[in-house]
Symmetry: C2
Subunit: 324 residues, 2 copies
Amino acid sequence: MVTIRDVGKHAGVSVATVSRYLNDKGYVSEETKNVLKKSIQELGYKPNQMARSLSTKKTNIIGLLVPDITNPFFPELAKAVEETAFSNGYTVVLCNSSEQQEKEKHYIQSLQQNYAAGLIVTTNYTEAEYYRHIKLPIVALDRRLDPTIPTVTTNNVEGAKMAINYLLDQGCKHILCIRGPQGIGVAEDRMKGFLEVVNNAQDIQVETITSPFEFTEAEQKAFNILNAFPTIDGVFAASDASAIGAMKAAQSLGRKIPDDIQIVGFDGISLGALVTPELTTVAQDIYHLGKVATELLLKKIKEEPIDNHLIELPTELVIRRSTK
Amino acid sequence: MVTIRDVGKHAGVSVATVSRYLNDKGYVSEETKNVLKKSIQELGYKPNQMARSLSTKKTNIIGLLVPDITNPFFPELAKAVEETAFSNGYTVVLCNSSEQQEKEKHYIQSLQQNYAAGLIVTTNYTEAEYYRHIKLPIVALDRRLDPTIPTVTTNNVEGAKMAINYLLDQGCKHILCIRGPQGIGVAEDRMKGFLEVVNNAQDIQVETITSPFEFTEAEQKAFNILNAFPTIDGVFAASDASAIGAMKAAQSLGRKIPDDIQIVGFDGISLGALVTPELTTVAQDIYHLGKVATELLLKKIKEEPIDNHLIELPTELVIRRSTK
DNA sequence: GTTACATGTGTAATCGTTTACACATAATAT
DNA sequence: ATATTATGTGTAAACGATTACACATGTAAC
């Protein structure tokens, strides 16, 4: 392996100078720079990251903490994070908490231990308090952890309003709301938007159930309630996953979509375009979400000033076949 | 930060002894072991991985090279790899090649550079030759890279035979085969199985198209060919993604599934259960695939003997609603 | 002409491990 | 009784970077 010492020898300077050149720190004459450039090229020198990290206590590793990579929202996010990180010279460690708080903490522990550069968090199950005391640069993605932690999310309140307004415009009178879990920021926001519209509307009947952002449970619960209320003619789900669950439930009850019942989801996962009928949804630009979050984290890592601690990206109502 | 030196001082021994204790190498008396255990506990000592790696030229990082994490096959795999790695004290770096060979090579380069412990490869676009010269322990997953590289895959030939036999049993007479890309091992194998059965069957008409393991292109191509051949009554797709593409194409042409046309996919991604009608498929146990591959890699890393360089896991025909 | 500061470079300590080697002592073999 | 081997431990040199500090020299200020 070629070391910085070899480069120094080859170029006829000391290691300090080489290091200064490499890190663009301190003074190095133009002449020396040229010589070094050549030497490094000729020797094919690549700095040893381990040695670097040992000395600086910093790596180029970013942790991406997700609850379940299998949930279709996260691969899209992961892709954005990976690509953004990669093009900035960072590497992404996949931390799949498998919804276990202990595993999540273990990862955080280990990332700090190993001098990770920063952390992007998309999980919910750990108290915000815990995060406040982490020394690592952190960005919360699609989750609100703590006011002190920069957050990138979509405008969930507005998105929900758009969705429900649309359902009302389409003539829905009896609406099922599949809300997300209690206490989770985005779920609360979507619920808030939903309620704001519904509470000001006339002659609307509403049913509400709670489900995690996932298929099976939503399908089950939706089945029961759709069965109990044959007049339900619209569904607003706080996630596409739940919406698709509801869709299957409706179909297995013989309800025609969108004729008997119209469904709007929330998220904009690409799966929405693959189900039949294709899902109308409040789409977030998931890739953009991940990209912005990563860029924000990079800023924090480089200790650049952050002007905006809460970035809310706009949503878009994508109308497909699950509504009229 | 507590260092090995602190532990040594606290326990009244030298760093060498502590190191020997930590790594279970060389002689350490029972008595000393107990003292050290206590000291480490009391001081809350955690070894510094950077320093370790610098010295040993080894990390506990495993690279997972995927072409596109957004393709639903890979998150399921990634989860298995992550969980298996995690429970063995390893960390997974997500290397999303985005189908670019250059990025793939860059990752391999960087993983070697950074003393990664090993590498799991699920990509295709780089010549096997290239991989043969990598010093890192490698396992190929669902891909055949090189005879010298241990490979975990499913029994694709048998799986394809099962699928196509089933279609014939169901009475299909005019079959569309959506094969995977040329030159890719698993695609060839599935094709081989398909042909073996079809060539021995009577009175069967066959159309074949090629599509990557992905939705859109398959949908497009399937649309054209289904449109051209109204008598096609069965589809065998070499991936669930293509199958779902074909499903959408058939539906938009007004063909009823499974009455007018029956569809069988291949892979067993969980998405298959979410589309309507639910997809009949040759299921691989993707999680198991990932787990076995990771365990195999771990064996290679620890330089344990590997008895089987080609592990072929069985497939299972999961019959759902897209066939009669 | 002295002082101050900017520019350019080198020496050596440091980061926190691992490990070769040396050196004990005790147990066993011959 | 001596040689050999097993057991237990410590010293100090790696691993390959960064960086504080020292030391030049050149230039500008007064």
